[in-house]
Symmetry: C2
Subunit: 231 residues, 2 copies
Amino acid sequence: MTPLHHRIRRDIESRIMSGEWRPGHRIPTEAEWMAAYACSRMTVNKALRSLVQSGLLESRKRAGTFVSAPRFHRAALEIPDIRAEVMEQGLSYRLDLLHRERRPATEEDKALLRIPDGELLAIQCRHFAEDLPYALEHRLINLSAVPEAADVDFSAEPPGSWLLAHVPWTEAEHRITAINADPATAKKLEAPENTACLALERWTWRGQERITYARQLYPGDRYALTAHFHA
Amino acid sequence: MTPLHHRIRRDIESRIMSGEWRPGHRIPTEAEWMAAYACSRMTVNKALRSLVQSGLLESRKRAGTFVSAPRFHRAALEIPDIRAEVMEQGLSYRLDLLHRERRPATEEDKALLRIPDGELLAIQCRHFAEDLPYALEHRLINLSAVPEAADVDFSAEPPGSWLLAHVPWTEAEHRITAINADPATAKKLEAPENTACLALERWTWRGQERITYARQLYPGDRYALTAHFHA
DNA sequence: GACTCAATAATGTATATACATAAATGGACC
DNA sequence: GGTCCATTTATGTATATACATTATTGAGTC
């Protein structure tokens, strides 16, 4: 037996999806749904609130509940944990630590990590899938926020995976763009000079504390991000 | 007055965010929360279910409610309506229709739109911001799903904006990658040959019906996608 | 010790009710 | 006609209660 509030939700959804109820349309009141399904208001309310939370409906006191304007431009983007993603494809994963340095934040570091001052860990590494470079990563880790990171051997575990497992929760901001590989980058990625690369930058924090900044370059012909949206 | 279930939700969130409760930790039962806040179980339940829906908690009958494994790799990506985005930046927008053709689906069209057969509208256009090409767009519109599109003058309104306003609801899938501009593309974008471009492909449908396929190329130095995640 | 099965404890669903809140409505008044 | 204000109506929050569901626990049995 599917719960009643799921059925109500589904029924409303399909009225919207079919185009019967266009954006802006005022749907029946909770009292009317109660009558239609011979159920209590709480049950109707549960269905409606869930649709409101997922963005399909909007409700205003006194006025009623309305179909939202469609916004299919909002999609859930899966930002990958590179190691997990490579291994999911059945490929062998290898990490190559190019550089690792503990240092007081330079002006550039401060701007990227958005911190006023402090010590950090700067890492450069390459992610390999099946002996082909998959991504080149620059990373800064704020040691005042994550002091344990100072003692981690990032030649074995990729910094992203380690942080994902050890830093309890985060907010994150991403910036995605395309850039041409300069000669040094191209060499490290074993790709032709000027190859178009997907550049994925990520800023992560917990509460007010800045945790890490990462910049990953993926050769465009070896990688694509996918995002999916559905109501 | 902030509602009680919001306060409970916030309190649980901050326990998780601070790292006090790590992923896998079993949080107090609903009965214990009831006692702690001297409120009814429905109120506690509302807070917990909202946290479950947003992915911070998971609950299993009989066993209890647990902190989820962090997944900060899930971010909300804002897929732009190009015209709206350009104009939001205070720049002038101009559309340049390069090609428009009504035709039975070719083999390639069928593969892209993922339809078995039918008639479609194929469009190629350029989006300008302040007299500089901002994006080059190829688009296919399935005329069996959206017959009205056949009569629309897409030299005035960009196909994306028109569809957003006229097709009631959709599912969408996106693919983001980086490619080098070939000579013809570079010329149309008024960018140097081989310029790294962000390629954004989008498949859209409503129920089972395929609506449209779009492929937009943005010169990497003129554009970046951003995505934000927060609990 | 290993299997069976009933008791138990947690979440999941649902009802009925009450009062709070906010905005649209409509009437009284100038 | 326009302004003010009380009324009305829809959603928002919350309580108290009941029974369903399901995985764990633990006792009893072989």
